[in-house]
Symmetry: C2
Subunit: 428 residues, 2 copies
Amino acid sequence: MDIQLLLTGNEIMSGDTVDSNSAMMAQRLASLGLTVQRKITVGDDSALLERELANMTREADLVIVNGGLGPTIDDLTAEILATVADLPIAEHPEALAHLEQWCAKRNLTLNAANRKQALLPAGCTLIPNETGSAVGFSLEVNDCLVLCTPGVPSELSHMLEHVLDLLRQRLGNPQQHNILRLQTFGLGESSAQQIISDGVPDWPPAVDLGFRAGAPQMEIKLTVTNDDDLALQQACRHQLEDLFGDHIIGEGDTLLAERVLELLVERGKTLATAESCTGGLIASMLTRIAGSSRGFHAGFVTYDNDIKHRVLGVPEALLEEHGAVSEPVVVAMAEGAMQRAGADYSIAVSGIAGPGGGSNEKPVGTVWLAWGSPENIETCCLNWPVERTLFQTMVAAAGLDMIRRTLLGLDSQPRYFDQRRVRAGAAQ
Amino acid sequence: MDIQLLLTGNEIMSGDTVDSNSAMMAQRLASLGLTVQRKITVGDDSALLERELANMTREADLVIVNGGLGPTIDDLTAEILATVADLPIAEHPEALAHLEQWCAKRNLTLNAANRKQALLPAGCTLIPNETGSAVGFSLEVNDCLVLCTPGVPSELSHMLEHVLDLLRQRLGNPQQHNILRLQTFGLGESSAQQIISDGVPDWPPAVDLGFRAGAPQMEIKLTVTNDDDLALQQACRHQLEDLFGDHIIGEGDTLLAERVLELLVERGKTLATAESCTGGLIASMLTRIAGSSRGFHAGFVTYDNDIKHRVLGVPEALLEEHGAVSEPVVVAMAEGAMQRAGADYSIAVSGIAGPGGGSNEKPVGTVWLAWGSPENIETCCLNWPVERTLFQTMVAAAGLDMIRRTLLGLDSQPRYFDQRRVRAGAAQ
């Protein structure tokens, strides 16, 4: 099935908006085993849109148009589709009813601009828009199915459910892609690929292996297109678990912070944070998760020596003797945070995020981490010389990862420590 | 000048990667007054790429190809361009020298895969890649200039400087677009547009007005294409300053946190934060800025009543009587943070980020803010019923905005307070 996307919008052409809609569409279509062949983006220009849409309908089996459904004069999709299909534009009663309801709910009067959104190519079929004013619509042109969808991402996301239903009906029972996603931390794409090639030389071709590298996590994706291969998919998953072990955080969309909170809640424990160079990012990653208050109660951002002393009780002598980026200081921070918060576990970080502040002995990218419980605090010094915000992201994630490992009772060291370690600590 | 972009990559077609490169290219081209007419994306497929590139070179004056320069078998750009131009592929000595240098710097041996990156269409001209192994290259085909650039965003960003130089030379002295960007907080796109339409009915057509709504800031862009209109651009800027006043944070890329730190440093003052529902995000926004330690020393994330009491000294009686999301508690948090950190100013927030935790009296989205100095703490209760992370982002920004206003000695209330306010406080 030849599927093409036509995206319209001056704000996308100018680069003022980064298009994430086409990625959303491609991923949702992939769940039906459908792949997008080609996508074209042009601005809100009648002549350009008409040319592309006419060409696409001659060539493709399915065209999804995105954008241009709104009330302004720049919104051209209905008009262009009518021209290409050689049909008149007419007020669509269902679309008008939707607009009237939409306005009534918001105590608005239906004005001419809004009413324009009911003017659609004659004979088209509506696609409901559950959140916005502009309905979607579908039409067959030149044996090609054209689906018109809104540019607002949240509206598109809802409408895609209807689009997928429509495609499922049309395709009979399409070959579903079964996608299993594993979230990892501490692995790079190329080294992961190498480890798999070496470890599983006879990887089954029926299981498609994919990587999606992000900061801080990397996703490994196992896709099978045939239900008969589900057992094979599970076998591959077990092989990955053998190869990567505790570098796998969880399935689906699991975030590191989410997994840490889950483990804390399961054990009825709480965590406190003491952050210098990450400046509140660990606390923020935790509290982004709904329900985080069940495992996280207190965070300290101690961005200054005096504050490390006043707020966390780090002895001034330690700060003077060893400096803020040192093992004794980061251990005292971890202890101070647990004690002051009455927490069971803590993470403490102190490092040099840059671009300034480095020295020969402690260059930019140097960071001491301490983590554990009052009975057992572990430490490590890493060097991660990357741009400031990426450094903060990776170090915050490393802190969360160490607590995850502690909560799981793992005593193995993660792979990334080997590459980044300056010095392993063995404090307390 | 008809400019078209050809983007290649299976990871873009599948939606695993969101393409931000084309937005980057469009914005950089805009600085020369150039606009992109059309962009096409296809996967790493020889037949598809060849068809699109051949069509584009017949139609456009400039084609920029992005992606497909790397060492793997999927990287097809050099080969496709050679086919379209009907030229042989040859090892390019300069490209080979670049690869040798690149490997030597990294203590790597030049292997066959890497060496493939020196195989380019005969007669093409190199475009330097300062950060990566794959050079870019340019070639005239069918009176169309084709520029091939790398898909890695950081490499592309550097290479675009060379591309712009090349275009400047080619275009003689192109009509530069002078773009003035103003950063605002607390304005929506449509209301800003309305205020401008009402306030400046005779807006000069020579000054193009644009908006770029983000969370939390909105950018207003004034573009003129003729140096004679620079005075007019300045006049428009002054009119915007009259209309929006202190909702304008600064010029260019200025971030709220950056402006707050600048004002603190100018005055030799420090700020402390006491965060409940924003969970460290305000501290994190501040410490993302290099040099933030000059104005920000301490942040407290007190995500629990007991911690508000233990760490910030909020009286237990206040918490019991009024609840954590209340004016007396948020004032006590602000006071406690200043006192414990020895800071001159503080921001405190306590609210209900959701999705759970709301009540009839205090629904999800309710938040109390307190800000000021030991002598004068102000408060406000807002209702911002949006998704959890957006709520955290907007509330954190509102807190920073109130400190910015305090530091500037503004006593006017921002517009967004009118829309969001539940109750104005007048504590202390």
